[in-house]
């Protein structure tokens, strides 16, 4: 978000107040304040610096252009280090055989499956491979609400595979958005090679 405050011709403290308001209105972004006198320039840049915003000032034809960049501040917020990508893959294959999780309520099952795939991106170790079978392939196809999470898993190095026969059966071969198409041989091999396979 960028905005410009033209405070030329305004009396002190109006330039500062206007600039402050513009900065308060945004979570982050750039505000350019234009002022025509030294005092206003000093007040605004002092204020911006006191807030840890990045300030650059340009002068042009007697006017000052004060660029203020506001970033969200996370003072006192502790950041937790996530482990590096290469060590977080566990010896685990997850086989997802339908587009919902558990039995009982289908509505709840779909929510739980979305939740499962989200949580998979948040918890370590990650599986080495996620395989979609039967209606599970829908989760990797256009219209699925889990695509972003599957893409994130792929970014982390998790292999995503969908059963080609299943995509063909549901006539959604061209809708596959994340991961590769694989056949039963590759799927069986992945499951057999892994010490641990979880089937959902």
């Amino acid at each position: 978000m960028n905005s410009e405050i033209d405070a030329r011709g305004l009396q002190c403290p109006m330039p500062l107040i206007k600039t402050k308001k513009a900065l308060e209105a945004i979570e982050k972004g750039n505000v350019t304040a234009i002022v025509d006198n030294e005092v206003a320039k000093e007040n605004i840049s002092k204020f911006a610096k006191s807030m840890d915003y990045k300030v650059t000032i340009k002068e042009s034809q007697g006017d000052f252009y004060i660029d203020i960049f506001k970033e969200y501040k996370y003072r006192e917020v502790k950041m937790i280090d996530l482990e590096p990508d290469s060590n977080i893959l566990g010896d685990l294959v997850v086989v997802i055989g339908k587009d919902y999780l558990g039995e009982g309520s289908r509505e709840l099952g779909e929510i739980l499956m979305k939740g499962y795939l989200y949580t998979l991106t948040e918890v370590q170790p990650l599986p080495r491979t996620v395989i979609f079978i039967n209606s599970g392939v829908r989760l990797a196809c256009a219209g699925s609400e889990s695509l972003d999470n599957l893409r994130k898993l792929e970014e982390y190095g998790v292999e995503i595979m969908s059963c080609g026969t299943c995509l063909d059966y549901f006539r959604i071969k061209h809708d596959l958005m994340v991961g590769g198409v694989s056949n039963m041989y590759t799927i069986v091999e992945a499951m057999n090679k892994s010490k641990n396979t979880v089937q959902l």
Partner: protein
């Protein structure tokens, strides 16, 4: 640094209704299991990226209120490459983030 919001609910039914209402209005929210550090919840929450909704956040919460969807708390966390913070109550977080601004 990216910022995320999370709305926790007391009831699964309110969480599900909330998601439906907001999706109909094209708010980019997603339903997720409530993270472990947040206990005041039925187990389901709505999550969104701060910048995707930003100015519309208050309006969105008002809409839920109007539709009688009750929530347990609004939380926030920040994220950057390879790191993230714990979820904290948004009002508390905002206070400590803004610090001695005034």
């Amino acid at each position: 640094m990216k910022r995320e919001y999370l709305l926790a609910f007391h009831s699964t039914h309110h969480a599900i209704a909330g998601e439906q209402i907001l999706k109909e209005k094209d708010y980019p929210v997603g339903i997720i299991p409530t993270p472990r550090e947040i206990t005041a919840s039925c187990g389901l929450s709505l999550r969104w990226d701060a910048e995707a909704i930003a100015a519309g956040k208050d309006e969105m919460l008002k809409l839920l209120q109007k539709k009688h969807v009750e929530w347990a708390g609004l939380y926030t966390r920040c994220r950057e490459e390879g790191k993230n913070s714990l979820w904290t109550l948004a009002e508390n977080a905002e206070k400590s983030l803004q610090g001695d601004d005034e």
